[in-house]
């Protein structure tokens, strides 16, 4: 049985624990063992922390990577920000010996050391590349669903480093969706940022929401049943962002926001309550009604 260290990050355990439970159930069905990363911290956020101090960013990331190394299991993340940080920091720590020495000198204060023996994976790519056949076998068909896929930024870029799909026109998540029998709708500016990342949500909520609004308008025009994301931070921005836009500007979109782990859970016939779909800011009921007669109380 393959094992991975599950890196939760901040948003999943604090805001959307449903994504964590969805992840654990889905990976269990796929026959993948997930090890908890005891004592893991924030990744730390590439925009917020990385912009202020690269050394701090690298050291905190190295600490997380060291925990995975102690687990003897590569990292899998549920969030593009976590993926961006851990993947890029890992790349730097593996290839720049001097930097690794400096970082490890700081890290030794916590009694840890990172030797560079861990790979960092994004959960969506891991499933697409290693478990597509199983997904097809385990899934009930989601025919009739129209899904607006959102990739997010840190998953694919910088393209020369990440080397995942084509950063200008990625298709692998769309293909995953199509393998579930659902339709992946095309919409304007599909590859635009959700608005949250890069420290924008923290520093300029107005601007972040303005970008979110544009994305929501475009998704609405495509008549999709939900926004499907592969990133906890995009998930939060689309979900809470809709509430914020309603409060601040009186804009009502009511587009359900679904994380890919939750969609896979639904396709595997898992109970929506266990996937945390009742705990979103924007009701997922219309979406669930479309999939199944089971409604969340």
């Amino acid at each position: 049985m393959t094992s991975y260290s599950l890196f939760l990050g901040c948003i999943v355990p604090n805001r959307y624990p449903g994504i964590e439970s969805a992840t654990k159930m889905v990976f269990n069905k796929l026959g993948v063992n997930l090890k908890d990363m005891l004592g893991a911290s924030c990744c730390p956020a590439p925009g917020v922390v990385g912009s202020f101090s690269e050394q701090t960013w690298l050291t905190v990331a190295a600490r997380n990577l060291a925990i995975a190394e102690e687990n003897r299991a590569d990292v899998v993340t549920l969030c593009n920000g976590c993926f961006g940080t851990l993947f890029e920091a890992n790349n730097t720590l593996k290839n720049e010996e001097e930097t690794r020495k400096t970082v490890n000198a700081l890290l030794s204060k916590t009694g840890r050391i990172y030797r560079g023996n861990v790979e960092v994976h994004h959960f969506a790519k891991l499933i697409y590349e290693g478990h597509l056949d199983q997904v097809k076998r385990l899934s009930q068909s989601l025919t009739g669903l129209k899904i607006a896929v959102h990739y997010g930024c840190h998953l694919l870029r910088p393209g020369t480093l990440k080397k995942i799909d084509n950063p200008e026109k990625p298709v692998f998540v769309d293909e995953l969706v199509r393998n579930l029998g659902a339709e992946s709708v095309d919409y304007k500016d599909k590859h635009m940022c959700c608005g949250a990342g890069g420290g924008v949500r923290s520093s300029n909520l107005e601007l972040a929401l303005d970008m979110t609004k544009e994305k929501l308008e475009n998704v609405k025009a495509s008549q999709a049943d939900c926004i499907l994301n592969v990133c906890a931070f995009c998930h939060l921005q689309f979900d809470r962002g809709q509430r914020e836009l309603a409060e601040k500007k009186g804009l009502e979109y009511n587009i359900p926001v679904v994380h890919l782990t939750q969609l896979l859970g639904l396709a595997f016939g898992l109970n929506p309550r266990l996937l945390g779909l009742q705990a979103h800011a924007i009701s997922t009921q219309p979406f669930l009604r479309k999939i199944t007669k089971v409604s969340v109380q």
């Binding site: 084509n166 200008e168 500016d189």
Partner: protein
């Protein structure tokens, strides 16, 4: 080859150059001269301010003659710089030129140790000692002389190849002009007007095409490809494959009846796929030679064994379905490569929508559209609804100056777009035309003036690379861009978008491998020296010109083609070529015939011969460049590199180690 060692005792002269202050400012030349004078075999040593100058060379000659020196060591700049100069000096003083040894105490010593004078002087001593020790083992060598065939192969029948061929043919040399397509002309034939004079491209090119086809010294090999090249400078043995046209050239009068009757319509590649041609076709009305060609990939008879209607209607009985490819063997003294360019494939820039949005086209497609003989007879009509566009955007640097595709500037696209913008305005003065640029590079004669004129006609220029092109349901295009002068982001709608596709080298990988030519990092063919040998390659007798060597406009292409012809004719007129004797030599008693050296040789200079039932390596002295790879590869030590023998190299190493140790 005479390799007889010198009989008399060695008498070496060491001459140290100050190179102004380049060397003397760092290295203590007096101390170096004093040190050199004590080395074994050294009869005389001195230093001088500029050894390469006339008096400097005179100093060497006088001392060789007066003191009876029989070896010369020059400690100066890199041998890449002046070895030839000093070899001539040595020769003029009556010695074999290969009895000169150069110690590089400038590039590899004074220049790199500018702030360490003492250490630099010590290093210079070691370098001079090494040269002196090698000099003890140097032997006189005689260069090879070979006869040169008075004929040339020119590969590529665009404007570069045509110009080079005409220049060489006018000087009386026999020229074989090989072109892959069914007609001469290259990309220039596709252009409507040329910048900045607005000359009609066909009007200036077709007379040259006709002249090339009629010239008594030019033999056209159109619809042909170079298959193999053997031999060497002065005597290349070339095999050219003539593809079958399935039309007998000597009979076809180009009446066009065959094409009229042919039922198959296919996109015409000459029109960039905008127009159509038949399966039997001439690419364009002014084609040279004006002969029809059957395209077997679309011909019904070739594909399904039916039809043959062209054959039925041809009044001259010129159609010949049984034509076979023909191999032509040529022997030429020189080769000129003029294989040109291809436009960058814009569909690789997904964000611009080329290939996805109908109304996004390229410069070259626009050129066919605006051409009077093109698919729209010169009307600018956008592809989606064939309406004249009212708002046209030109996007510069697509596939150029871009870390994600090619870093180089393609040089012609700014002016091509400026000229095309003028043509849009010419047809509809009220239209909105915007050029989005990175920098407007209008560097040529009359280019800047032309830009000013076009801006005066109302063409707008915006500094900013367009980020993204979006299409709406009506086929209109929304451009997102940052105006970098204002620092603001805009979104603007256009009817037609023209992409200035960069230039990439033609796919000549096969030819490059055959000729063992190298490329620069941008993929274009490498010239021997970017400034002083711009049309020669690293292979003697092979020249390069036009866009095969790098992106350039028509004036530069024509000038470079003439330059290549001039360099080739210098070789051919001389009639003989001398080849450096610094080559590999096989000791037959030691060679086991394993063939490792054959594989290792980059220049195809070694082959295995069977003599008396035994395999033996044999070095072609003309092809051998003396790189030494075979010598290093040989497991049995059977290969000796002349002028770089094991003995010579070991003595250098020993000299350096013993000097440094002291």
């Amino acid at each position: 080859m005479k390799d007889e060692p010198l009989k008399e005792p060695v008498r070496i002269g060491v001459f140290i150059c100050h190179c102004g202050s380049n060397i003397a400012g760092t290295v203590n030349v007096e101390a170096l001269a004093e040190f050199s004078g004590k080395l074994p075999g050294v009869e005389f040593s001195t230093h001088y301010v500029y050894l390469c100058s006339d008096p400097g060379q005179g100093l060497i000659k006088d001392n060789v003659k007066q003191r009876g020196l029989n070896r010369v060591v020059v400690a100066a700049c890199s041998p890449r710089m002046h070895e030839e100069t000093f070899r001539r000096t040595v020769k003029e003083s009556g010695l074999n030129p290969y009895l000169l040894e150069v110690a590089n105490i400038r590039e590899q010593c004074s220049w790199v140790h500018m702030n360490q004078k003492e250490a630099a002087t010590e290093k210079a001593k070691a370098l001079v000692a090494a040269a002196v020790m090698k000099s003890l083992h140097n032997e006189p060598l005689e260069p090879l002389t070979i006869e040169v065939e008075k004929s040339v192969l020119v590969v590529g029948g665009g404007v570069a190849g045509i110009q080079a061929s005409l220049d060489l043919a006018d000087q009386g040399f026999k020229v074989y002009l090989v072109e892959k397509q069914p007609s001469l002309g290259g990309h220039m034939a596709q252009l409507d007007k040329t910048f900045p004079t607005l000359d009609c491209s066909s009007c200036i090119l077709t007379p040259k095409m006709v002249e090339a086809s009629r010239h008594e010294n030019i033999e056209l090999l159109v619809y042909s490809e170079v298959k193999s090249v053997g031999g060497n400078v002065g005597g290349f043995e070339v095999t050219v494959l003539r593809k079958p046209r399935f039309v007998r050239e000597e009979l076809c009068r180009a009446c066009g009846l065959c094409a009229e009757k042919c039922p198959v319509r296919v996109p015409n590649e000459f029109d960039m796929g905008l127009g159509e041609r038949k399966a039997i076709y001439i690419p364009f009305p002014q084609a040279v030679p004006l002969k029809y060609t059957i395209d077997p990939e679309h011909c019904l008879y070739h594909q399904k064994g039916v039809c043959r209607v062209c054959e039925k209607f041809c009044p001259e009985k010129a159609v010949d379905f049984d034509q076979k490819p023909v191999e032509v063997k040529l022997k030429v003294g020189a080769i000129v490569i003029a294989t040109g360019y291809e436009p960058y494939d814009c569909s690789q820039k997904y964000e611009y929508g080329y290939g996805r949005y109908k109304n996004v086209i390229t410069n070259l497609e626009f050129e066919r559209m605006v051409s009077a003989s093109g698919p729209t007879y010169g009307q600018i009509l956008r592809p989606s609804d064939r309406k004249p566009p009212r708002r046209v955007a030109f996007l510069q640097c697509v596939g150029s100056r871009d870390v994600n595709s090619n870093k180089y500037c393609s040089r012609i696209c700014c002016m091509a777009s400026v000229k095309q913008a003028h043509q849009v305005k010419e047809k509809d003065p009220s239209s909105d035309v915007v050029i989005f640029y990175t920098d407007l590079r209008c560097f040529g004669k009359g280019y800047e003036e032309f830009l000013e004129r076009v801006q005066g006609e109302g063409v707008k220029v915006v500094r900013g690379r367009v980020a993204e092109v979006l299409e709406d349901v009506s086929g209109n295009l929304r451009l997102r861009y940052e105006n970098t002068y204002l620092g603001e982001v805009f979104e603007e709608e256009f009817d037609l978008v023209v992409l200035a596709a960069g230039l990439i080298p033609s796919d000549v990988e096969e030819l490059r491998t055959i000729l063992k030519l190298s490329t620069t990092p941008d993929g274009f063919l490498a010239e021997a020296h970017p400034k002083l040998r711009p049309v020669e390659t690293f292979t003697d007798g092979i020249y390069v010109c036009g866009t095969a060597q790098g992106p350039k406009d028509i004036p530069d292409t024509v000038a470079q083609a003439s330059a290549a012809a001039s360099r080739a004719s210098a070789l051919l007129s001389k009639g003989v070529v001398t080849v450096e004797p610094i080559t590999a030599e096989v000791d037959e008693d030691r060679c086991g015939g394993c063939g490792l050296c054959v594989q290792a040789c980059f220049f195809n200079a070694i082959e295995l011969e069977v003599r008396e039932g035994m395999k033996r390596s044999k070095v072609n002295q003309v092809l051998c460049k003396g790189c030494g790879v075979c010598g290093a590869t040989c497991p049995s030590g059977a290969i000796k590199m002349r002028h770089f023998t094991d003995e010579q190299l070991k003595s250098e190493v020993e000299a350096i180690l013993s000097t440094v140790r002291r």
